[in-house]
Subunit: 489 residues, 2 copies
């Protein structure tokens, strides 16, 4: 083959390799690209017309068209009717500070105080300190006897263990979940269910799929720190709305919606984390009506709702079009399973599913099959026992607080669930209290973690579940001592 230097083909071109697994158009594309990038073909060099080059190389004209089209897409050549193809001006991307190690020039990454908080939430706690930090279910009542039987049943089945499974989730599990949601007053169909590794994954899918960086969303104040981290990483701007003893201040949501169009409203209406409050019936109805009128969807995070007594139907029961529902088995069976789900209208299901696939392809089918078996045999009875245990713990904790804490510490109107949310007087900062408590051998989570922006300095959260009954009383007594010491200073 004759060199084509004069008309825009690098001199040193190796012959086209027809036996190669690299398609011919790509071989041509890459050779031309290398020649342009290295300056062998300088700016404005005229390339051979497609037909001529095809003839000289002995390939179809469409092969050259294909290669040139890709070079145009890369901005490497320009095509104009009448004057053919020329090498484009190589503005290029200015090299990012050449000579500096790559990890110094990474994109900006602003996550503020989150590493500390999330580390605490996810960390395993050892030692003699009584830790009220993590929202894990109590060791008693234990699901482990029945759960290990369920896993034994599925562990030997290659169809469960040696497959990826569908990204949407294991079909029988989606049916079992939908049936339980229908029992709570929803009209859920299995095809609206997607199995996830937890409701946190659902928040991530929603934040990344339903909004763009710079968009506004409405969040409760205080709220789940994991959600705040996700929104911050997604570049969303959280408009906080206060939670009082009847739940989210829906009148404030209404005011905001008069002039703004947030992408969604993130709320935990039942046994809210961290306050434990449950939104009253009037506000629930008003919130969904507002969402429908303003065409703003609600993201209902419901990890604890099934543990409420009396149980309120989820918001999604009022509208399956305007509510994306998230829940989990982390609080009712075991967090280590990493198993949760979302229920979304079919209008956005595919969008969420693709992002789920891009995150982990599918949730563990082995775990799904095991839990599906457990649901069919033992789950509902376990939830009843767990609900009773939480009621008992709440009474023990409130009695101990009445005995050991000063009256100046106010508790929110928690109706159940895993947490107590306390407000200290203005002069007492929760971080100072935590320091004193840790010296006394007890720990909890300080309030700032639950606030978008500033606030929460005088609040703290106690998880009443990760300890024994005795530790619950003793830990509250230790915090009482810390309160006395902190107030005295």
């Amino acid at each position: 083959m004759q060199p084509l230097r004069d008309v825009g083909w690098p001199a040193a071109i190796p012959p086209i390799d027809r036996a190669s697994i690299v398609p011919i158009y790509q071989q041509i594309y890459e050779e031309l690209r290398e020649a342009i990038l290295t300056g062998t073909l300088p700016e404005s060099t005229r390339l051979l017309p497609e037909r001529v080059l095809a003839e000289r190389l002995g390939v179809n004209r469409s092969t050259i068209v294909h290669a040139y089209r890709d070079l145009v897409a890369d901005g490497l050549i320009e095509q104009r009717v009448g004057s053919g193809s020329r090498v484009a001006r190589q503005s290029g991307h200015p090299p990012r500070k050449a000579g500096v190690p790559w990890w110094v020039t990474l994109p900006p990454w602003r996550v503020g105080a989150f590493p500390q908080v999330l580390g605490e939430l996810a960390a395993t706690h050892h030692g003699t300190r009584i830790s009220f930090v993590q929202g894990v279910p109590p060791f008693e009542p234990s699901p482990l006897d029945e759960l290990s039987k369920s896993f034994e049943r599925v562990a030997g089945d290659p169809d469960y263990v040696l497959s990826y499974g569908d990204s949407e989730g294991h079909a029988p599990l989606r049916e079992a979940i939908a049936a339980r949601m229908r029992a709570r007053g929803c009209s859920t169909e299995p095809r609206e269910i997607m199995v996830l590794t937890g409701s946190t994954q659902g928040i991530n899918l929603v934040a990344q799929s339903l909004a763009e960086p710079g968009d506004e969303i409405i969040v409760e104040q205080p709220t789940y720190p994991g959600a705040l981290l996700i929104f911050q990483i997604a570049g969303l701007r959280a408009i906080p709305v206060a939670v009082d003893d009847e739940g989210m201040r829906v009148d404030h949501v209404e005011a905001i919606l008069r002039t703004r169009r947030p992408r969604f409203i993130y709320t935990m209406p039942s046994l809210h984390n961290p306050t434990g409050v449950t939104m009253n019936a009037d506000r629930r109805e008003r919130l969904v009506t507002l969402a429908q009128r303003a065409h703003v969807p609600i993201v209902e995070d419901d990890p604890y709702g099934v543990l409420a007594t009396p149980a309120a139907p989820p918001l999604v029961a009022q509208s399956s079009d305007y509510v994306v529902y998230l829940s989990t088995f982390s609080k009712t069976i075991a967090p280590s399973l990493r198993l949760g789900w979302l229920c979304a209208p079919r209008t956005i299901y595919e969008r969420l599913l693709l992002r789920k696939q891009s995150i982990d392809m599918a949730t563990s089918l082995y775990v799904q099959a095991g839990v599906c078996d457990y649901l069919s045999r033992a789950y509902d009875a376990h939830v009843v026992r767990l609900r009773d245990e939480l009621t008992a713990r709440r009474k023990i904790a409130r009695d101990a607080i009445a005995k050991h804490w000063p009256k100046t510490i106010r508790l929110s109107n928690g109706r159940g669930g895993f947490y107590l949310w306390a407000t200290a007087p203005r002069e007492m900062r929760a971080r100072a209290l935590l320091d004193a408590a840790e010296r006394n051998g007890a720990s909890f989570l300080f309030g700032e973690a639950f606030f978008a922006g500033s606030g929460g300095d005088h609040n703290f959260r106690l998880a009443i579940t990760p300890v024994t009954h005795e530790q619950l009383i003793e830990g509250i007594r230790r915090i009482g001592d810390a309160l006395a010491m902190t107030a005295a200073r």
Copy 2:
């Protein structure tokens, strides 16, 4: 309390609730915000000076400072030295097409042909069709006997099942993984390991954490479709570089790096998916040297490397600073476990960890503990058996192809692993061939799925693992019939 309408306090203000769990500064902030958003306090209204308002409400001045500061941050008020605080001009966000259902006005979402491809990769295949689609390990040799024993050992332990576990992963598993990487010539330390739900999750973490939308990256052509989906969702622009029988064309990478600064180079150097080729030693050394010189990190995806014979040391063995390494147990134990890992320099570990936490908090501790037990007893012997099985299958497949397929179908120089990559003559399109094969009762994945942008029309991939030996031969025969039919037309 006296209404302050004239000087910028809404008339209808409810009294401050000192017993509320909502902090006082937030009550003030929200009331003012509602008043501004609803127009009760119009633009330019002067707010009371902080000190005056604090006196009237009987709160600390710092409480008002705090509330005003948050209003400034929201862009709702402006503060100027000398003239105090005024309601800012409310440009607001123009409401997005009011009256249109919310799912119609979602952010743009361009993922092209991926839903179809990913659905195929993750879907469970039923029926009588012989499917060569999914890259799952063969049913024999089975890890299930020993694996279920391992899970039995950990299923009853509340420390494993009733905890979240550390986001970084189970410490003994991180040690076991690091030890195995050291045995392959790396200098890996456990603190560089992060346990993931699979190597796909690692690609996601890297794409979202190390680059920004619009950034360029280098990918192999062809490459793993899951990676292409992730890069597309992350808004990254893939610069494709051909793979030939000796691996990635590193000379092309060199040419690109002369003028561009891609954020990273994504490569699968050992038993590359889909071609099965392994990058030769010269190219490996040159690639890492190039990366170091240009300060561009390499993302080494290595799901299959441990199955290679002879095994090449991973790229990360050459440089732990310039290579982020990803791998998985999906191909060597079971995909249903959703268990993989990354090995990253400490310079970027925290950044990746926070995003991992925002995706799923942590990988299942139950699964991690079970696999950790399995690693200590049975894994290495299983990998040896699996390697032998793959060698046997490759021979069976190549023999069947020699017998049943025309010589015009070229196979890539695959050295092992799960796949055969075929190139059909120019006049035969792989999609048409797939249609014919499916009518004959066999299926595979067409080549376009593996190409960034266009290309792959004449390529197709066979996974030789998800079938029995008999099905392997029979399926290849059926595709041979389809090839004859397609060529004849």
